[in-house]
Symmetry: C2
Subunit: 164 residues, 2 copies
DNA sequence: TTAACTGCAAATGCTTTGCATCGAT
DNA sequence: ATCGATGCAAAGCATTTGCAGTTAA
């Protein structure tokens, strides 16, 4: 039996639907469409991006519903928030890994390599902190923004003394 | 000659003042008070917290000036932003290290251990991403919030079927 | 002297909330 | 038939911006 990415996704969505029923949440079409959109995206979408994506199939969808559903998924422990420059991105891969975060376009990318630096959970716990998950964030410039970095003015620098 | 934390801080502040002059920024009392407040804090303060601290010596200080100065320090590369739950914290220690971030009170703490997991900079660069700095974020509950976790209602759970 | 900085207030933009209606159970 | 979910609009809140007066250089 071949287990591919798609069937794993389907399975996870089914498990979430069951969990919802068990916990007294209702399983609505909007909700499940949002769940699928977040889980199937590997691009760490923002609420707005999830909204735009799901809107194709649910033109009546409201952004508030997206936010509420994402909040629900957070409560269930199915996703985590990745705040970047005033906007929250959502991550459904809860295994430790590396994020490459572009300081210019604010995209969040997974680093291809699956290797993760080991964090000694026990040592952290001994400091009294209870760890739930961890991530490595590498901040810098994505390849696209490196080549474009001349086309946009820098932040509010003063004009005087540009040379010295 | 003994080099302690305090004198290192003084030195760094002096260097920043010099850099400001060289780049055509002006060295104002507010600015330098804000710079000192951020650099001397090891608690990753928010703009609001910096504002409250500096307000003791500058009652006329405005929050906008704090934001503008923090933006300036970012541009100079002296600090970086650590966005947490809708508020930005500021970090002046640019060496890779571990942050313990509490999901409940949203404090950002440095992990005592100085060890950092090695990130192979070259491997990341080979993917086309230009890394500037990196951090490890461990999310969970701080010791205080663990003991208080019963005293605050959970997020908007539905009421039905609490057991099953 | 003069151009940058400050402080104020208004504006912005993401996210949350209240509420009437709708629909899953 | 319930009562939670949805969609809309309004509110909330951190941050940014515009501008007139102030001040470092």
């Amino acid at each position: 039996m071949i287990i591919n990415k798609e069937s794993l996704l389907k399975e996870r969505i089914a498990q979430i639907a069951q969990q919802l029923r068990e916990r007294g949440y209702r399983v609505t079409p909007q909700r499940m469409a949002i769940v699928q959109a977040v889980l199937e995206s590997s691009e760490h979408p923002t609420a707005e991006e999830v909204y735009r994506k799901v809107s194709d199939s649910f033109p009546m969808l409201s952004l508030a519903t997206v936010y509420k559903t994402l909040e629900m998924l957070k409560t269930l422990g199915e996703i985590v928030e990745i705040p970047v420059k005033g906007q929250v991105h959502y991550e459904s891969n809860l295994r430790p890994h590396v994020h490459l975060i572009c300081e210019r376009c604010h995209k969040v990318m997974d680093w291809g390599e699956e290797i993760v630096p080991p964090i000694p959970k026990e040592t952290i716990e001994s400091s009294g902190f209870y760890p739930r998950y961890y991530l490595v964030e590498v901040h810098g410039l994505c390849s696209q923004c490196q080549s474009e970095s001349n086309s946009v003015p820098e932040a509010d620098k003063p004009r005087g003394n540009p040379g010295a």
